[in-house]
């Protein structure tokens, strides 16, 4: 039972989610509707992209706390170039390029200069936000063109172009991490860096690529953000990196690297977004949000940690039990004697 919950975080989350939905649905019958589902889906997109990007880095046993600022910076590039009359495709390309460059700078510092990732990205968290503010002069970017906002328009069933793109990315990332050789390297590097090096895995290139991917995801998230909101405030993306880390932990991605699945992260994002929407629906004052999010995260962590310890303990016991197996002959004799006596 314990093993099941620890190994299969997705299932655990889904079970909790179904129970929670049932409870909320019973308390407020109007909640379980298609409208809720499409709201949850749409409002989960930004967090989904940032969380997936963060996951790729965490799997390689690093961390990226700068993605909120990368989001802000690429959003500023997008907004400013659009308002300067640049066409949407080129503006999107510039925005993506910004995200990739920001991620590459993080990757350079961590993979090639050996700066601890938490320190490097904590620094760029401030740095990128600063560059964004310099670019915008501290003003919000408003009056974004209609064709950008149209990207968030409903195509039916609550799906927009952006939703389709995000779903494609989820599928693509899943395939990449599970099915490709280079994708497996990400887990190997996070699991045991020395072993990966020993087996010929290009450790630095993998770490670098992970940061670039995170930057690209953050840039994509900035497009979703701008299209959905229709303007770009100074604090765009502020704090989303912490939420993304929380989502990853909730989704079963170990911060020690080497484990975690796309499915787990997706389930966790849906879970967190659902809770938020349920609080709104139940008209619980907004000031409970942080408390509930924090309490939830910590309880999951505590539970998870304890379960892991129990499992570790069992593995250890099993490993040491080998020594008890050695006097095989003697032991077997006793058992058979005991059996005979019993019979």
């Amino acid at each position: 039972m314990l093993d099941l919950f620890a190994r299969n975080r997705v299932a655990t989350l889904l079970v909790i989610l179904v129970v929670a939905y049932a409870a909320i649905g019973a308390a407020a019958p109007g909640y379980l509707s298609g409208a809720t589902a499409s709201t949850v889906l749409a409002s989960s997109l930004v967090l989904m992209l940032i969380s997936l990007g963060t996951m790729v880095v965490i799997v390689t046993r690093n961390i990226d706390v700068s993605s909120g600022s990368v989001l802000g910076l690429s959003a500023a590039v997008l907004g400013l170039s659009l308002n300067a009359g640049v066409g949407l495709p080129l503006a999107v390309a510039l925005c993506m390029l910004t995200g990739v460059a920001a991620g590459a700078f993080n990757g350079l510092m961590v993979a090639y200069l050996g700066i601890p990732s938490i320190v490097a990205t904590l620094g760029t968290l401030g740095l990128y936000r600063g560059i964004m503010l310099v670019m915008t002069g501290g003003r919000w970017i408003e009056d974004l063109p209609q064709d950008l906002k149209a990207l968030a328009g409903n195509l039916g069933l609550g799906f927009s172009v952006l939703t389709v793109v995000v779903v494609a990315i989820i599928g693509g990332l899943w395939l990449f991490l599970r099915r490709t050789r280079f994708g497996r390297f990400f887990y190997a590097v996070g699991d045991n860096r020395a072993a990966a090096h020993h087996l010929g895995v290009p450790v630095r290139r993998v770490q670098f690529s992970a940061f670039v991917a995170t930057g690209a995801c953050a840039a994509l998230a900035s497009i979703v953000y701008s299209a959905q909101i229709g303007f770009i405030p100074n604090q765009a993306g502020n704090g989303v990196e912490l939420k993304a880390i929380a989502v990853n932990v909730l989704g079963g991605v170990s911060l020690l690297g080497g484990t975690g699945s796309v499915a787990g992260v997706v389930a966790a994002v849906i879970f967190i977004t659902s809770i938020d929407s349920a609080l709104v629906f139940l008209k619980i004052p907004a000031y409970w949000n942080d408390f509930i999010a924090g309490a939830l995260l910590l309880s999951v962590l505590l539970l998870d940690g304890r379960i892991r310890q129990v499992i570790d303990h069992r593995i250890r016991a099993r490993r040491y039990a080998v020594h008890d197996r050695t006097p095989v002959v003697e032991g077997r004799d006793q058992t058979s004697k005991a059996l005979e006596a019993g019979l």
Partner: protein, 336 residues
């Protein structure tokens, strides 16, 4: 003597001097002694949490929840005065709240064996949420403040001791206590050893969990002190009082020489780094840069400083290898 010159603290001090000189050239009025001294009131709270945070980092942990603890302690104090609890007891309750936050973090970390960053990230939300809920309960709403403190309390925000702002004196006194504790006592030695190798510390019979717990509790306590100081300074307690300290305080500790891997760091370094960061923000503002940008640029400073340290270490390694090769070729050719 050579040692003194090559110490990181000396480099930081030089950085501070250069920084002040540049701002002085840009805006000569910036270098007014009174300005410099009273300007500290705007950033001294960063230092008050960065100092104990240095202890946590040296002992191999990290705490990001202090940013919320500041707000929580302030709100608890505000709620207590709202219900007309006597001032000393309100203060005591706020301090106990801060210390319990630290104890809470340490307990969860040791129970779950999960990385401190993740745990304190969770409690960052939890403490902030608790503070928001608490202030909501007394009708102060989400992010509105609780005010109407006793006059004696508000006065502390602007009080002077020996001609210096009381909060600055508090900060320097705290630094003195922690310098002594970390660098001259048995406890400080244990903090370093635990951070350098937890397993070797366990083998040497050093109570690892206890040492780490104390560092978290001290951080919570100091966060509460910062929360009280800020409440007195602003005349009201708000949930988000500490949110702007998170990044600069971690920056100050790391810039001050604390290794994120544990086992290294210095209180003096953090002390100087606090002034470097604080005056950077003020100098930029005095030079007409908006406050948002200046606070963000301290992140840039962190990147540059760490890259420089890392770069110089790489360079030193490189030089060592070249030297070795030279001596070796000499040896080989000598052998032949």
């Amino acid at each position: 003597m050579k040692k003194l010159i090559f110490r990181w603290e000396t480099a930081l001090l030089a950085m501070l001097v250069v920084e002040l000189a540049i701002f002085g050239i840009v805006n000569p009025r910036f270098l007014n002694l009174g300005n410099l001294i009273y300007g500290t009131s705007d950033f001294v709270q960063i230092g008050i949490v960065a100092l104990p945070l240095t202890l946590v980092i040296i002992a191999g942990g990290i705490d990001v929840s202090f940013a919320s603890t500041i707000g929580l302690a302030a709100i608890v104090f505000g709620v207590a005065t709202f219900y007309a609890v006597p001032l000393p007891i309100s203060i005591a309750v706020a301090l106990v709240t801060g210390a319990s936050c630290g104890l809470f973090n340490a307990t969860i970390i040791h129970l779950s064996k999960i990385q401190p960053l993740v745990v304190t990230l969770g409690s960052l939300y939890l403490f902030q949420g608790t503070a928001t809920v608490a202030s909501g309960l007394v009708g102060a709403g989400g992010y509105e403040g609780i005010g109407n403190f006793p006059q004696a309390f508000n006065a502390f925000g602007y009080a002077q001791i020996f001609g210096l702002p009381a909060t600055l004196v508090l900060f320097l006194a705290l630094a003195a206590v922690l310098v002594t504790l970390l660098h001259f006592t048995r406890f400080g030695r244990a903090v370093f050893l635990v951070g350098q190798s937890e397993s070797a510390a366990r083998f040497a019979g050093i109570p690892v969990a206890k040492v780490q717990t104390i560092t978290y509790v001290v951080t919570g306590l100091c966060a509460a002190i910062a929360g009280l100081a800020l409440s007195a300074y602003f005349g009201s307690a708000r949930v988000d009082l500490g949110s702007a300290t998170l990044l600069p305080a971690v920056t100050a500790a790391v810039l001050g020489g604390a290794s994120i891997y544990g086992g290294q760091g210095s209180i003096l370094g953090t002390l100087i780094a606090t002034f470097v960061i604080g005056y950077l923000q003020q100098g930029l503002q005095a030079s007409g840069v908006s406050s948002q940008i200046s606070s963000a640029l301290s992140g840039g400073l962190l990147v540059i400083a760490v890259a420089m340290r890392q770069g110089s270490a790489l360079l030193a390694d490189f030089i060592a290898v070249i030297r070795l090769k030279k001596s070796q070729t000499a040896l080989t050719s000598g052998g032949k």
